[in-house]
C-alpha cells in the first residue's frame, strides 16, 4: 500500500501546478480574445474560455513525475498519456473550430481508446457486486473506446452552470480516491491524488461566479481521465455508479433531441433566464431534457440554487458508490 505522505505530496504539487497553470491559461485566453458569454447572468459577462487546458498539462507533468518515481509502469504511463493527448487535441479543435455534433463522439470513439488497447493496460474481468468478475476477454477491448467516448462526452454535457462539472468531479474524485486507497490499488490511487489536485486547481477559478470556463478541452480531458482510471484501476462499476448524474444527464439529452447534435444545432434551450435574474425550465416540449430542467421544473431558482441541487446529486451518487464498494468486499 502506498504511503499517505506520498499521496498528499503528489496532491499538493498537482494542486499548486493546477492553480498556476489555470491562472496562466486564463490570461492567455484574455490576451487572444478567447472569451465566452456567461448566459445565465443578466449582465452577460464575458469569461475567458479553455481554462481546463491546465488539467491536461498538470496531468502530463505529474504522470511523468509518477513514472520517474516508479509509481507507474511505462505501459500505464504511455497508455494514459497518449489517450489524454488524443482527447485534448479533439477538445482543442472543438474549442477553436467547433466540430459538428456527430464528429466529436465519433473521433473520441475511434481514436481515444486505442493507446489503452495497444499497451494492454486493462483487465477484461469486470469487478461487480455479487460477481467474482464478469469475464469478457474478446469484447472488452472493443468497449474501451466506447467507455472513453461516453465518459468524456458525458462530462462535457453536464457543464451548463458555473462550476457544476468541476464541483461534481471533485466530489467524485475524493470518493474514488478513498475507495481506491481502501482497495489497495496503487495505480488508481496515484492517478486520483494527482487528478484531484489538478481539478481542484481549476475548480478554484471555475466555481460560482466563474473566472474561467473549462472549455471542451478541459471537460473532455477530465471525463476521459475518469474513464481511464475506471479501466486501468479496475474500478469500472464503482466509477459507473459515481458518475450516474453525468450518465443520466447525457442520456436524457440524447434521447430527447434524438441524436448527436452540437449546442448551436439545438434551437430550443432547456432553461431560460428571466428578467429578475431567476432561471426557469423551458415549457417547450421540444426543448432538451436535462438534469437542470428537471430541477427547475415547476419553480424559479437562482443559478446558485440550481448548482447546489446538482451538487447534492453528486454527493448522493458518491455515497451510492461507497455502498457499492462495501457490497463488493
Amino acid at each position: 500500500m502506498i504511503r499517505i505522505t506520498v499521496l498528499v505530496s503528489l496532491f499538493c504539487i498537482s494542486l499548486i501546478l493546477g492553480l498556476i497553470l489555470t491562472k496562466f491559461f486564463r490570461e492567455i485566453a484574455i490576451k487572444y480574445g478567447k472569451m465566452g458569454v456567461d448566459i445565465h447572468k443578466i449582465e452577460k459577462p464575458l469569461i475567458p474560455e479553455m481554462g481546463g487546458t491546465s488539467v491536461f498539462f498538470t496531468l502530463l507533468v505529474m504522470n511523468y513525475l509518477c513514472l520517474y518515481f516508479r509509481f507507474l509502469t511505462l505501459e500505464y504511463f504511455l497508455g494514459f498519456t497518449f489517450t489524454i493527448i488524443i482527447v485534448a487535441i479533439i477538445g482543442f479543435i472543438d474549442d477553436v473550430y467547433k466540430l459538428k455534433g456527430v464528429y466529436k463522439p465519433l473521433l473520441l470513439g475511434l481514436l481515444a481508446g486505442l493507446p489503452l488497447i495497444y499497451f494492454g493496460t486493462y483487465n477484461p474481468s469486470i469487478k461487480m457486486p455479487f460477481i467474482e468478475g464478469f469475464f469478457i476477454p474478446i469484447i472488452y477491448p472493443f468497449l474501451i473506446p466506447l467507455v472513453i467516448a461516453v465518459t468524456s462526452n458525458s462530462f462535457n454535457m453536464l457543464d451548463p452552470f458555473n462550476g457544476t462539472m468541476t464541483t461534481g468531479t471533485v466530489i467524485i474524485s475524493v470518493t474514488l480516491l478513498i475507495i481506491s486507497y481502501l482497495m489497495g490499488n496503487i495505480i488508481s490511487t496515484v492517478y486520483l491524488a494527482v487528478f484531484l489536485g489538478a481539478v481542484l486547481g481549476l475548480y478554484y477559478y471555475n466555481r460560482y461566479p466563474s473566472k474561467v470556463f473549462t472549455g471542451n478541452i478541459g471537460s473532455l480531458t477530465i471525463g476521459a481521465t475518469v474513464g481511464i482510471i475506471a479501466i486501468q484501476g479496475r474500478m469500472e462499476f464503482i466509477v459507473l455508479v459515481a458518475i450516474l448524474p453525468y450518465i443520466m444527464n447525457s442520456f436524457l439529452i440524447l434521447s430527447s433531441i434524438k441524436g448527436l447534435k452540437e449546442k448551436s444545432e439545438i434551437k430550443e434551450r432547456p432553461t431560460k433566464l428571466l428578467d429578475d435574474g431567476f432561471l426557469e425550465a423551458s415549457t417547450n416540449p421540444n426543448a432538451p431534457l436535462t438534469v437542470a430542467r428537471l430541477f427547475l421544473s415547476g419553480e424559479k431558482l437562482t443559478e446558485l440554487q440550481v448548482i447546489r441541487r446538482i451538487t447534492l446529486l453528486f454527493v448522493i451518487s458518491s455515497l451510492l458508490a461507497i455502498f457499492t464498494f462495501v457490497m463488493m468486499r
Binding site: M128, P129, F130, F134, I138, I139, V291, R293, S297, T324
Partner: protein, 79 residues
C-alpha cells in the same frame, strides 16, 4: 399529487437499485451459463461471450428506458 425536486434524487437511488438487480441477474444467471464446456480461448468462446454481452446490453437499454420514462413523468407532474 405535485412532485417536488427531491424526486430527482429518488430517481437516482431507484436507478442504482435497479442496476444492482440487473448485476445480480447477470452474476447469478447469465454468468453461469455453460455451453457444452466451452472455455476461453476456444474458437467458439466469442459466440458464447456475445450471448452474455447481448443480454447485458438488452438489460442496460431497458434500464435506460425506465430512467427516461421516470424523468418524463416527473417533468409532467412537477409543474
Amino acid at each position: 399529487m405535485k412532485l417536488n425536486f427531491y424526486t430527482v434524487y429518488l430517481i437516482l437511488v431507484v436507478q442504482w437499485f435497479l442496476c444492482l438487480v440487473g448485476i445480480w441477474f447477470l452474476g447469478n444467471i447469465v454468468a453461469d451459463i455453460k455451453v457444452g464446456g466451452i472455455v476461453y480461448p476456444s474458437p467458439y468462446y466469442f459466440l458464447f461471450e456475445s450471448v452474455k454481452f447481448s443480454i447485458s446490453i438488452v438489460l442496460a437499454l431497458f434500464w435506460l428506458y425506465i430512467w427516461r420514462e421516470m424523468a418524463k413523468r416527473y417533468l409532467s407532474r412537477s409543474k
